[in-house]
């Protein structure tokens, strides 16, 4: 099975492993490419998401765009993992910043 597949209608399909990447990370990455492409995200089967790319015009180099998407996806996945691990610290900092005495009173 190919990771990147050229479809007959000119679209490209990228298969993204569910066990590695979060759905939100795929959507956040996809958002950044919506200037050049129409992007559709789907669940292909229990193991893979399918990301379908259709260029908005003929000047778009779809292969290099999808390669860039793959790199962006790694960054987005890192962002989500970090967000999860430091969400409570972020909340603590913001709460203490705006309600400095609350934690002492509790």
């Amino acid at each position: 099975m190919k990771i990147i597949e050229k479809l007959e209608d000119g679209k490209l399909l990228l298969r993204v492993e569910k066990s590695i990447y979060r759905h939100d990370a795929i959507l956040s990455s996809a958002y950044k490419f919506t200037d050049d492409c129409y992007i559709h995200v789907d669940s292909i089967d229990s193991n893979y998401y399918g990301v379908y790319f259709a260029p908005k015009d003929s000047t778009v180099d779809l292969i290099s765009l999808v390669n860039n998407f793959c790199n962006e996806l790694i960054d987005e996945q890192i962002r989500f993992s970090l967000d999860i691990s430091n969400k409570s610290i972020k909340e603590l900092i913001i709460r203490k910043a705006f309600f400095p005495f609350q934690d002492h009173e509790e």
């Binding site: 958002y31 919506t34 962002r79 691990s85 972020k90 603590l92 900092i93 910043a97």
Partner: protein
């Protein structure tokens, strides 16, 4: 990434972007940055840093990692965060009064809005002015700025005087600090007005688009003749009365300005200005019918900005102090812990939090673009009228709260994970006008493109860490000339 329970350190919240080849720029919650190789970044987020390494200590010192939750670094970060967001407690500091729509000019970029000089029905009445002052001084902010805008405000000088006198007396009772700025083309100013401005310590913000051929192309009288010569003549006169630091100027960039970056700066220096504010053309509204003639793309603007900034830096290095005001604002955000509210560029949006605009007829708008939109027939962002609404109705209404809530960086796709979030901002009304949606669409937004490229360019300079350039930046941040900040 390693299992959370056995992580040897805590990673504090930050955003990152790949910056140049194989390097990553990381920026924390309070805008402190660190630049590291992609390999080191991978180690950092994988919790594999050597705790004895310099990198580990540097990241700790810069508040990117901490050892425990009780680490003093977290407390410090909290204080810094509070300081950075200090502008939020300054609700609402900038109040813009549209004193009249009449103008003796008809400039290329505000063609549709300026009214003939004899049409006094477009003046703000004393009654409206009084109501506007009353509402202004209900703001909790301890430091209020009233900015007189037009049209040409000097055409309704009596109302300006009335507002200044009344606002001063009322602000004194409430122990609020108050200052006044008159935004003027200067060509109607008299000795009597200048004396009044000098006596009352009023600031003047004038429009100067560059040397004669640039200024006159953009800015002209209603009969089509350019106003450059008169502006400079009146500027000379104004300088006889008013302290140099109380007169500033700003320029609007049109297509015609793009080829004259150095000439524009030279014109400012020749006329004694210590700052220049490079503004983009608002590509919607008043300028819309003329976009073919005066518009340009976001990347053309960025080329222009880079050229003009490079030139300004060089001029400063020769010992002449002149700062680019927008760059200064961004540098303060990047290089210092201070809070810098700026109505056009903050999260959440500055609309009504930092600035509000009262139209001549008493209508209240959360920003100038909202007012412009209403003039074009869409009053969606009119938050009420001074004659029919109370302070609470104007500033605490649901529509406004909804808009402001939706403009926190965390809720904006693209901005929510952008490394420049701490330096940047959002303008929901501009989003609505240009992209038909207050949230906007970052990948196609000129606003985003321009801010991203400007901040990136500043980082390119900062990361070179060339003391000749950094001294210039520090001189702008501190407002002192280069000889005072240079350590060489």
């Amino acid at each position: 990434m390693k299992n959370k329970t056995i992580n040897p350190y805590i990673i504090l919240p930050f955003h990152f972007m790949r910056f140049k080849k194989d390097h990553v720029l990381i920026v924390n919650l309070v805008g402190e940055y660190f630049y590291l190789s992609a390999d080191d970044f991978a180690k950092m987020v994988d919790y594999s840093l050597n705790p004895k390494s310099d990198l580990y200590f540097n990241l700790k010192a810069k508040h990117f990692i901490a050892e425990t939750l009780s680490d003093p670094a977290i407390e410090l970060l909290t204080i810094k965060y509070r300081t950075k967001k200090g502008f939020l407690s300054d609700f609402t500091s900038l109040h813009m009064f549209v004193i009249t729509l009449r103008c003796n000019h008809k400039c290329t970029y505000c063609h549709a809005s300026s009214k003939d000089t004899d049409k006094k029905v477009f003046d703000m009445s004393m009654e409206t002015a009084k109501k506007a002052v009353d509402i202004t001084l209900m703001s909790p902010s301890k430091s209020i700025k009233i900015e007189f805008q037009g049209g040409e405000p000097l055409l309704n000088f009596e109302t300006i005087q009335y507002i200044i006198e009344y606002a001063k007396s009322q602000a004194a009772l409430k122990r609020q600090k108050i200052e006044f700025v008159v935004c003027t083309n200067l060509t109607l100013v008299t000795d009597e007005m200048l004396k009044y401005f000098a006596d009352n310590n009023i600031l003047l913000s004038i429009s100067l688009d560059g040397p004669e051929h640039v200024h006159n192309y953009n800015r002209h009288y209603r009969d089509g003749s350019g106003s450059h010569e008169d502006v400079l003549r009146y500027l000379d006169k104004a300088r006889k009365y008013i302290k140099p630091e109380n007169i500033s100027a700003l320029m609007t960039t049109t297509k015609h300005s793009l080829n004259f970056s150095s000439e524009i700066v030279d014109e400012y220096i020749r006329n004694g200005f210590r700052s220049i504010f490079i503004r983009t053309l608002n590509p919607f509204g008043y300028a819309l019918p003329k976009m073919d003639e005066i518009g340009y793309s976001a990347s053309e603007f960025i080329d222009f900005y880079k050229r003009i900034l490079d030139y300004i830096i060089k001029i400063n290095q020769k010992g002449i102090y002149i700062e680019e005001s927008f760059t200064s604002l961004l540098l303060t955000r990047i290089l210092t812990p201070f809070s810098t509210g700026f109505v056009d560029l903050q999260f959440p949006a500055g609309i009504s939090i930092s600035g509000v605009i009262y139209d001549y007829n008493g209508n209240v708008y959360s920003s100038d673009e909202a007012r412009m939109l209403a003039q074009m027939g869409d009053s969606k962002f009119c938050i009420g009228n001074l004659h029919t609404n109370t302070y609470k109705e104007l500033f605490y209404n649901n529509t406004l709260q909804k808009i402001i809530k939706s403009t926190c960086a965390e809720s904006l796709p693209g901005c929510s994970d952008c490394a420049f979030q701490m330096y940047c901002g959002v303008d929901p009304i501009r989003n609505y006008v240009s992209q038909k949606d207050i949230m906007g669409h970052r990948p196609t937004s000129d606003f985003c493109f321009i801010h991203k490229e400007v901040i990136k360019y500043l980082f390119e300079i900062i990361l070179q860490n060339d003391s000749n350039q950094m001294d210039v930046f520090w001189s702008w941040i501190t407002g002192r000339c280069l000889s005072e900040v240079s350590i060489n």
